[in-house]
């Protein structure tokens, strides 16, 4: 598990470097007339320095052990993340009603609502209620998906 914080530290370092490289491509301006690039370059340099310090700390503490989460919980978390990602991806095509129904079904199942009929009923009621609240009462233009064409 100690590899996991290491990976995050490396990701921070890589991200900071990428940010800094991108920042140097912006117009820097002069000291009296600073351009759009000056502040991002300073932020990037700061991030890179702190990321490096963070990685060093982690390397020095390499023997430290991070408590492992109980088996199976990581899967549930990743399941919820995947369901949310799928919702964002499919929302423009499926429309709010269908996408939300699918998302709720997935989340209810992941959170251990054992019976399919029960999950389906809860998901259906929540979808209809939220659609009514947002689209009808509050007038949010929710995506309708391919069905409206």
């Amino acid at each position: 598990m100690s590899r996991f914080p290491r990976a995050v530290a490396l990701a921070f370092l890589a991200g900071s470097a990428l940010y800094l490289v991108q920042a140097t491509r912006l117009p820097l301006g002069s000291v009296e007339q600073p351009g759009a690039g000056l502040f991002p370059i300073l932020v990037g340099a700061f991030l890179l320095a702190v990321s490096a310090a963070h990685l060093l700390q982690d390397l020095r503490r390499s023997s430290g052990t991070q408590p492992l989460p109980p088996a199976g919980t990581g899967r549930r978390v990743m399941g919820v993340v995947a369901a949310l990602g799928a919702f964002c991806l499919l929302l423009p095509w499926l429309g709010y009603a269908v996408a939300a129904l699918g998302l709720l079904l997935a989340i209810l199942r992941l959170f251990g609502l054992a019976r399919w009929e029960m999950s389906a009923a809860v998901a259906l009621v929540a979808t209809v209620a939220s659609y009514y609240l947002f689209a009808v009462v509050l007038g949010v233009p929710l995506p309708a998906g391919v069905w409206s064409r």
């Binding site: 000291v31 759009a36 963070h54 700390q57 919980t73 990602g85 209810l108 959170f111 929710l142």
Partner: protein, 504 residues
């Protein structure tokens, strides 16, 4: 406008039916999210931010502010009845509050914390009016260098006080600043880090970031734990009355907690949380019976509960007088001001008096409503804990998604929400403080603007800028925070020795 005249005007704003309703809804939601562990005031405020677009700025701010201080009331309920803090600011309350509940004095603990919160909240408004009007007057003479120094100072103090290793908080500061620099840059119109995306050129919005880090991330954390919500013990109404002895012992801690909390609230950082720790250790030191602390000492409930309410009001001072949020929750409120087209800053009080005085007066009304909500109606809120967890979670997920989408009707915001949710979950596991990201994201553009204005003003003459007394003092103070980490560590160690860890 003088304070009395201003407050009267404020009541004329806050007592209109719309604003009364907004205040009621705000404190009601605040109490509920306070009671529910896992959903905090920042997430709830971000969640409701989009739905305030149609409201007037004063109404929107009254409602959002109500959520913030309302959650300070609700948090203590869960701490006392189930030993699970509904809010981080109520962690300390759980120590003695739960012990009182086990000895059958739950009602007294609840009553004392509600009354303590009320006293601190209403006294705090007086402090808010006094400090904010004075500070705004001074701040009218501030130039860009002073505001730049304030943002640096704020982030420096925050990264020191937010807990956890300094390197980790600084990483969060950097991440927030970097996120804040994405998009079309306002001075020369250059697109930064957009990779050709038109949606990205609008910048990364506060709402998806805050809702992701505080809403979705909470859900992912709960997905991991899987436990249901805890069962609360029942409290009958007649048990709510503390004895005369209990009142007598609570009066001092409530008074001290109110003042202490308010003053801590003025300092950048997670003021509400810090103030409870501070108040607890002060009360313990002053007490004639320090051995009772941890066993159900009523002082350990009264002091911290007053302190966190005082702090939540104190945090409004820098926001309303300077336009600079020093706490994550007021950062969301600043976001609300900006969305409603209000220029935050020292001129707010004179240019938009209805906002400043309306909020101040509404806090009196809100605190009075909260006292009623949290004493006779306490059972109602405890029953919120009986809601099935999966139902609650699916509702929160839907609210986060639709709430974020409704701000700009943007799919990109949804991706930011989900991405930030996952990041927030990881950060929490690895000991990073996501609240710092939110504050840095809001302060970043402000920092850059004032930094560039300062450079422009200086025209190479650094001495003239650096020798402006307040700028120098703030920058030095910010630097000092890093130079003297040893002192802080020693202080923390001393505090840790005094305050025992909450019993699990």
């Amino acid at each position: 406008m003088g304070p009395i005249e201003g407050l009267l005007y404020g009541f004329s704003v806050a007592l209109t039916p719309t604003n009364l309703l907004a205040c009621f809804i705000g404190v009601l939601i605040g109490t509920i999210v306070g009671v529910l562990p896992g959903i905090g005031p920042i997430g709830a405020m971000a969640l409701l931010l989009p739905s305030t677009f149609a409201l007037s700025p004063a109404t929107a701010l009254i409602m959002l502010a109500g959520i913030y201080y309302g959650s300070m009331y609700g948090g203590s309920t869960t701490s006392i009845l189930v030993n699970v803090p509904g809010e981080v600011a109520s962690v300390i309350t759980a120590i003695d509050g739960y012990q009182m509940a086990r000895r059958g004095r739950a009602g007294a603990a609840l009553a004392v914390s509600a009354v303590g919160s009320f006293v601190a909240g209403t006294l705090g408004v007086l402090g808010l009016i006094l400090f904010a009007t004075l500070l705004a007057e001074v701040a009218l003479r501030f130039g860009p260098p002073e505001f730049f120094a304030l943002t640096v100072f704020g982030l420096a103090v925050l990264s020191r006080l937010s807990g956890g290793p300094l390197v980790k908080s600084l990483l969060m500061v950097g991440l927030g600043l970097a996120l804040g620099s994405v998009g079309m840059e306002p001075i020369s119109g250059v697109s930064r880090f957009t990779f050709g995306s038109i949606q990205l050129s609008q910048g990364i919005e506060l709402v998806p970031v805050a809702m992701g880090l505080f809403g979705i991330a909470e859900i992912l954390t709960l997905a991991e734990s899987r436990g249901g919500l805890p069962r609360a013990m029942a409290v009958r109404l007649r048990e709510l009355l503390p004895t005369r002895e209990e009142w007598r012992r609570s009066a001092g801690p409530i008074g001290r907690g109110s003042v202490l909390g308010f003053l801590v609230g003025l300092i950048p950082g997670p003021a509400a949380v810090l103030s409870t720790f501070l108040s607890y250790s002060v009360e313990r030191r002053l007490s004639k019976r320090p051995q009772e602390f941890g066993q159900g000492a009523i002082e350990g409930v009264a002091g911290p509960e007053a302190a966190n309410n005082g702090a939540s009001v104190g945090a409004f001072v820098p926001l309303l007088a300077l336009g600079i949020p020093f706490a994550p929750a007021t950062a969301v409120l600043l976001g609300a001001l900006v969305i409603h087209g209000i220029q935050p800053g020292p001129l707010l009080m004179t240019e938009r008096p209805e906002v400043f005085w309306g909020i101040a007066a509404s806090m009196y009304i809100g605190n009075a409503i909260l006292l009623i909500l949290n004493l006779p109606l306490i059972g109602l809120f405890v029953s919120v804990l009986r809601l099935p967890q999966h139902l609650l979670l699916s509702l929160v997920v839907l609210l986060c998604l639709v709430g974020t989408y409704s701000v700009n009707n943007s799919l990109l915001d949804l991706w930011v929400l989900v991405g930030m949710g996952f990041l927030g979950y990881l950060f929490r596991k690895l000991g990073f403080e996501p609240a710092v990201v939110v504050l840095a994201l809001v302060l970043g553009p402000m920092m850059e603007k004032t930094f560039r204005q300062t450079l422009f003003m200086a025209r190479g003459d650094w001495g003239a800028i650096l020798l402006r007394p307040l700028t120098l003092a703030l920058l030095l103070a910010g630097a000092l925070i890093f130079v003297l980490p040893g002192l802080h560590r020693a202080l923390r160690r001393a505090l840790a020795r005094r305050a025992p860890a909450p019993p699990v």
